[in-house]
């Protein structure tokens, strides 16, 4: 029983990372119609930005986190302006996908150069508290913060999208860009806001994951992208709460699968789940709302 609880907590921690990434990835897709495979690289570059200021100037956690988030937002905005904005007039989903692959390759190359092809980590005691140790469970500081920030971000993002003007505009543009424009919504403001929120959240996930798993590497974002995509499919594109729940389901399932079935099947379980959902419930657990792409 103790082991089961511990493994569920481990799953919730890693699932929170998947869930947060799924929300950020899903937001771009739902609002702008871009299946942005470069989104994982943005998370990686956010983590690298934070690491660089820690290594170079000894920044503590919060300032480093802010630098990392700012890095991710700036990269997201720049790539959107340079790579995706010119495609909007044509509104070709395949064009977006191919462009995002190109952006991904460029960003990965930048990340590899910045990391000097090494796997790096934040200093071992960079985040040392709170460490929860009881006779029943152990939660590392990185895991603790993933769960807390994950919970806060799903609530915060849901409130932003449902209770604020910009949130309503983002959702309106997601439903119909034409009708929202007729209603006086500025699509460029919505694009900038969506990219900033989404990439900022990707930066948070990148930094917290790299702290929790002692891994600042180019592959960080790739893992998040694959699992985040699966989480969005499982949870559904229509609601950020669904995407987050999908992440939790995948995280817990893969950890329990590794414990009670075999570590060999960790990814098989995750992507098996993805395939099952695509076949039997393509709208995901929480249902899907039909979105259009912003032009």
């Amino acid at each position: 029983m103790q082991l089961l609880i511990q493994q569920i907590l481990n799953g919730v921690a890693v699932g929170s990372a998947y869930g947060m990434f799924a929300m950020s990835f899903g937001l771009i897709f739902a609002t702008m119609g871009i299946l942005n495979v470069a989104h994982g690289a943005i998370a990686t570059l956010g983590a690298i930005g934070a690491l660089l200021v820690v290594e170079s100037w000894g920044f503590p956690l919060i300032p480093a986190l802010l630098v990392g988030i700012a890095t991710a937002i700036i990269i997201g905005l720049v790539t959107d302006r340079l790579a995706f904005q010119p495609l909007r007039a044509r509104s070709n989903p395949l064009g977006y996908l191919i462009t995002s692959i190109g952006v991904w390759i460029v960003l990965i190359s930048v990340a590899e150069t910045l990391l000097d092809h090494q796997i790096k980590t934040f200093p071992p005691d960079f985040v040392s508290q709170p460490r929860i140790i009881t006779s029943w469970v152990y939660l590392a500081p990185g895991q603790f913060w993933l769960i807390i920030v994950g919970g806060l971000s799903v609530v915060g993002l849901h409130l932003i999208l449902s209770r604020t003007t910009i949130g309503v505009q983002i959702r309106a543009v997601g439903y119909s860009e034409v009708w929202s424009r007729i209603s006086g919504v500025s699509s460029s403001t919505v694009v900038l806001s969506t990219v900033a929120i989404s990439c900022g959240l990707a930066g948070v996930v990148g930094i917290l994951s790299s702290i929790a798993f002692d891994n600042v590497a180019v592959q960080l974002g790739e893992g998040l992208l694959l699992k985040g995509f699966a989480a969005v499919v499982v949870g559904g594109f229509g609601d950020v709460r669904g995407a987050f729940a999908g992440g939790l389901i995948i995280g817990v399932t893969e950890v329990l699968g590794a414990q009670y079935i075999s570590g060999d099947f960790r990814d098989v379980i995750t992507f098996g789940l993805l395939i099952l959902f695509l076949i039997f419930r393509p709208q995901g657990i929480f249902g899907e709302v039909k979105f259009g792409a912003i032009k």
Binding site: Q7, G11, V14, H117, I119, G263
Partner: protein, 427 residues
């Protein structure tokens, strides 16, 4: 007696060399063995061919390599999860090539050109690299840090008759003369340093149970884990459980929790270095107090940056203990690396790249023309070879210590130092 042997040697060298060298001064660079000269033993010492007859005669040969540029292809992991190994390996290769060209190792007017290809750890990329190198007309190929890549590359280069030197992959039985040779000292085979280190720790603890953690999607690690299990069983460990992880796993909290729940007196880690050090950290953070034995992937200094002082007390064997390098080549590699890396000691990876290039370059030199078929023939004649590890020999294309060597069992200490393991429990 020694003097007489030297005189005899000199006389014989003179007799053999004079007719073929047109009366030129006999030296290692100009002498050629008489056609049909029979050697009891033959080999190369860093490129100089030697032949030993009747236990006392050395005949040095002229390689007669034609002028020109000889290309070698190197498939490397310059990006991706294992770039921490591939990048220093590539630097070791570049150093060897620079040395070879500066010193005129291949002979007058002959140069070596290294073509690197980043496979990023992907098998399809490794296959592309092999095909590209063959199309480029290289004299030989160096490849493969990953066993899965090695198997795929061999399937192409062997039928193509392309000499291939495996520089790092550890899956058993990869070497397959005449074309496939391996310049890796295997520590994981039956009776190797890796299973021995686990067995010694088990005996020191009188352990009856242990957990072996394995990267289950890496064939080399799976083979290593099997020998660890064998070594532990031989040391009286009756309960051995395997915990499987994947090469791409970054979250090792699940595996660590599983181990903590079982709380064995010792854990053996047969994984790649990065995941291994993350697992050690996850275990120590969760309060694991038992002994941890790792493979040589854990000896790399990059692991200390990941796990910090959590590594203290972890025992592992290493083929190259840079802090205690004793031979000339080993010391040179250490000095060069330290001078270019802020005083840090090198891991084994630059030496692996360096050794592989010298091995292939030696075969090219002795081939006379750099043609793959002749390079392969020359490669098969290499008997002994001086390396940073010490003097090695090749048996069926596999590099081994020429003489029984004392194992380098090392232990991580707090502060990032490694010391020799005294065969006692360390934690």
């Amino acid at each position: 007696m020694k003097r007489i042997r030297l005189i005899l040697c000199a006389l014989l060298v003179g007799l053999v060399a004079t007719p073929l060298s047109g009366g030129a001064q006999v030296s290692a660079e100009t002498a050629t063995p008489r056609a049909g000269a029979r050697c009891d033993k033959a080999g190369d010492v860093n490129g100089a061919f030697w032949c030993e007859a009747k236990g006392a005669t050395l005949i040095w040969t002229d390689n007669k390599l034609q002028k020109g540029t000889y290309k070698i292809g190197a498939e490397l992991l310059l990006s991706g999860a294992a770039a921490f190994a591939g990048v220093p390996m590539g630097r070791g290769m570049e150093k060897a090539v620079a040395e070879i060209n500066e010193s005129g190792f291949l002979g007058k007017g002959a140069k070596l050109q290294l073509i690197q290809f980043d496979s990023a750890g992907s098998v399809p990329n490794a296959i592309t690299a092999a095909n590209k190198f063959i199309a480029d007309g290289v004299s030989g190929i160096i490849c493969c840090s990953l066993s899965s890549q090695a198997a795929a590359v061999i399937a192409i280069t062997k039928p193509a008759g392309m000499p291939t030197v495996i520089a790092a992959a550890v899956l058993p039985n990869l070497a397959s003369p005449p074309f496939i040779h391996r310049t890796v000292l295997l520590l994981g085979g039956k009776g190797g340093w890796q299973p021995q280190s686990a067995a010694l720790m088990a005996k020191a603890l009188r352990a009856t149970s242990a957990i072996v953690v394995v990267t289950s999607d890496n064939q080399g690690m799976v083979a290593d884990a099997a020998t660890y299990v064998e070594g532990l069983a031989g040391a009286g460990v009756t309960s051995i459980t395997q915990v499987k992880t994947a090469a791409a796993d970054t979250d090792l909290s699940g595996a660590a929790s599983q181990i903590i729940a079982a709380n064995p007196p010792m854990v053996v880690i047969a994984t790649l270095g990065g995941p291994g050090s993350r697992l050690v950290k996850a275990l120590v953070d969760r309060g694991y107090k038992g002994q941890i034995v790792g493979n040589y992937g854990l000896s790399d200094t990059t692991n200390y940056a990941i796990a910090g002082n959590s590594l203290a007390g972890v025992v592992m064997p290493t083929p190259f203990f840079a802090e205690k390098a004793t031979n000339k080549i080993g010391k040179q590699i250490v000095s060069w690396w330290k001078a270019n890396n802020a005083g840090a000691y090198p891991s084994v990876y630059p030496l692996q790249g360096y050794t592989a290039v010298y091995y292939l370059a030696t075969a090219i030199k002795n081939s006379g023309d750099g043609k793959p078929a002749n390079v392969a023939k020359a490669m098969n004649k290499i008997g002994r070879f001086e390396t940073g590890y010490g003097t090695v020999k090749f048996e069926r294309g596999q590099m081994k210590f020429a003489q029984t060597a004392l194992p380098n069992y090392v232990v991580w200490r707090a502060g990032g130092l490694k010391t020799v393991w005294d065969l006692k429990p360390t934690r």
